[in-house]
C-alpha cells in the first residue's frame, strides 16, 4: 500500500476546490467548494439527480473530476491508498446475497487489510447483527441488509465515512438507531458525510448542504438555514433558496 500523507493537525478532513464533473452536456457537479472540519456529521440534501452521489464519488475518488480537486485527510483524491481510511456505504446494499453475514464481513475486512475478527464483530454488534453471523444475506430483511451494509463500511474503523442515502427504506425505529450510531461515531472523531432527500433527517446533521442541479445552493446548520430563509420548515427553506439561486423549484 502506498504512503498517505498525515492529515494536517487542524486542517479539514474533507476538502473540495471548485469540483466539476460533466457527462456530456450534463453538469452533474457544477463547481463545488467545501472545507469540512473533522468529527462532524454533514448532510447533502437535495432531490434525486441533484448531484449528491456524483459528489460522493468524486470525494471518494471513484470518479475523476472534470476539473477541480478533492482532498480527504489532506491527500488528493483519487488515491487508492487513502481508500483504507475511508468507509463508503453505497446506495444499493453492495453485499453478496449468497454469503452469510459473517462471510460478507470477513470479505470486506480482508479487502481493507483488517486481519483481526474483533473490528468486524464490533461493527456487527453495533448494528445488532452479531447474533446472525451464519445467516445467509438472502434470508435477511431489507432493513437488516441495510444494517449489514453499514457494518461492512465500518469494518476498518475509518476516520472518514461516506453514506449514500443510508436510511432509505428502513423503518423509523431503525432510523433512530442509525442516527444514534452516527452521532456516537462523530463524537469519537469520525467525519461523516451522508446524503438524503428526506428533510426531516436534516436537523440531525451538524451542517447541511442544500444541493440542486450540481450546485450547493445554501449551507449551514438547520437553524441557520431556517432563519436565513425566514421559514419554519426546511422544505420551504430549500424551495426559497432554489428560487433565489435560479435553479428552479418544483420537482423535489
Amino acid at each position: 500500500m502506498g504512503t498517505v500523507a498525515a492529515p494536517p493537525p487542524d486542517g479539514p478532513a474533507i476538502e473540495a476546490v471548485d469540483l466539476r464533473k460533466t457527462f456530456g452536456p450534463i453538469h452533474a457537479v457544477d463547481g463545488i467548494s467545501v472545507a469540512l472540519p473533522p468529527g462532524r456529521v454533514y448532510g447533502l440534501m437535495g432531490p434525486n439527480g441533484s448531484g449528491k452521489t456524483t459528489l460522493i464519488r468524486l470525494l471518494t475518488g471513484l470518479a475523476r473530476p472534470t476539473s477541480g480537486q478533492a482532498r480527504v485527510l489532506g491527500t488528493p483524491m483519487p488515491s487508492r491508498a487513502n481508500l483504507a481510511r475511508i468507509g463508503y456505504m453505497t446506495q444499493s446494499d453492495g453485499i453478496y446475497p449468497e454469503l452469510s453475514v459473517w462471510e460478507n464481513m470477513r470479505f470486506f475486512s480482508a479487502l481493507y487489510g483488517v486481519r483481526e475478527r474483533a473490528p468486524g464483530l464490533e461493527a456487527l454488534r453495533l448494528v445488532e447483527l452479531d447474533d446472525r453471523l451464519a445467516t445467509p444475506v438472502s434470508q435477511l430483511s431489507g432493513g437488516m441488509r441495510r444494517r449489514l451494509s453499514l457494518a461492512c463500511a465500518l469494518a476498518h474503523r475509518p476516520p472518514v465515512l461516506f453514506l449514500d442515502e443510508p436510511t432509505v427504506g428502513i423503518d423509523p425505529a431503525l432510523r433512530v438507531q442509525f442516527w444514534a450510531h452516527f452521532r456516537a461515531l462523530a463524537a469519537g472523531g469520525t467525519t461523516i458525510v451522508l446524503s438524503s432527500h428526506v428533510m426531516d433527517e436534516a436537523d440531525r446533521c451538524d451542517e447541511l448542504f442544500f444541493m440542486r442541479e450540481g450546485r450547493v445552493i445554501a449551507h449551514g446548520s438547520g437553524r441557520e438555514l431556517r432563519e436565513r430563509a425566514g421559514t419554519e420548515d426546511l422544505e420551504q427553506a430549500f424551495l426559497r433558496f432554489a428560487v433565489e439561486t435560479g435553479t428552479g423549484g418544483g420537482e423535489s
Binding site: L62, R80, Q91, G94, L111, G113
Partner: protein, 394 residues
Amino acid sequence: MNARRALALCRRLVDELRRDHRSLALLFVAPVVLTGLLAFILREQAAPEPRAAVVALDDEGGARLAAAIASSAGDAGLVIVDLGSGADEAAARRAIEDDRIDLAAIIPVEFTADLLAGRAPALRVLTTGVNPPQDAGQMQALQRAIAEASAALAPPGQGVPAVRPTVTRETVYGSPEADFVDTFAPVFIGFFAYFFVFILTGVSFLRERVGGTLERLLATPITRAEIVLGYSLGFGLFATIQVAVVLTWSLGWLAVGALGPLPAFTVGLGVPSAGSPLLAYAITLLLALGAVNLAIFLSTYARTELQIIQFIPIVIVPQGFLAGILFPVDTLPEILQPVSRVLPLTYAVEGLREVMIKGADLASRTVQLDLLVLAGIAVVFVVLAAGTIRREVV
C-alpha cells in the same frame, strides 16, 4: 379464461422484446449466420489430397505394384511422396510422425511368393490414428489406387494370375480400433472447461457489476490486478476440479461386479491416454484462464444474465465449428483458416490431441507452441478484462 388478459400479457412480451435489439438479433439473425457458417464449411470443405508413401519390401512384384500405385495415384486423389530407395517401415513411421506423409502402404517381402503360390498377398496400411473419420477417407483413396494398380498388373484374359491383395489398417498413434469417443474425449475436456468457466465467470462478474458490489469493491484499496487474479484463482480452482473429474471419467474404466440384484457394470469411458494427464491439465487450465478473463471483459457488454447466455452462440458455437473439433483446420475453407488460427480453442484442441492421442510431452514443438499461444491469448484477455474494471484510482 379471459382472452384480454392473455393478450395483454402477450403484448407486454412483444413490447419488451421489441426494444431489446440484441435479443431480436439473436433470435432472427444468429440462426441464419450460424447455419450459413456451417453450410459454408460443409460445402467448401476441401480436404487436401492425402500424402501417401508406398514402401515395397519385395523387389520384384512388390516393386512393380508400388510403381503401378504411384501411376494410378493421381486418379485416386493421392499425392505420392518418395521416401527414397531402401526406405523401410520404420522410415514410413518416422515420415508420419514428422507429418511429411499422412499414410503409407507397406508391401511385404513375401509379396511375389504369395502371388505365385496363389495366395492373396497381405498389404498393411499405416495411418496416423488421430482422427478416425479422416483416416478412413484417406485410406479409401489409397485402396482405390491399390485396386486400380492390381488390375493394371493383371489385365483380364492374359493368363497372368490376378493380384487381389488384402489390406489391413494399422495406426502410428492410438489403436486401429479407436472409436469416435476415444478421439473426441480430449477435445471435449477442453471444450467443456472453456464453456462452463466462461458462463460461470460471466454471470458472476455481471452480478458484481449490476448488484453494486463492484462499486463497493472499488471503494476499497483493492487493485485491478488483484481482482483479475482473484477471479482467475477462484474459477481456476473450479476448472481444476472439473478437469480432474472429466479426465478421471474419460480415462477411467472401473468394472463393478454384480452386487446383489444389481448386474455388473462399468464406470467411465475407458478412453486411452498416451500422454501425461498433467500436461493435458496444464493445457486446459491455460484455456480456462483465458475464458475467465474473456468473460470478465464481455460482461461489460451485458446488462442481464440473459445477455451473458446470448454470448454462447457468438463466442462458443463458432469456436465449436472452427477450432478443429469436428472439421480438421486444414480442411476448412481457406478464408476461415486464419480465423481458426486466432481462436484459443484451436490450440487447446491441437495440444490435447497431441498429448492424449500421440503421447507428446513437453519436448514436442507442437505442444510447446500450443502452450505458448494459449498463454499469450490468456494474457491478452487479462489485459482486456483489467481494462474494463474502471476506477479512476489504479
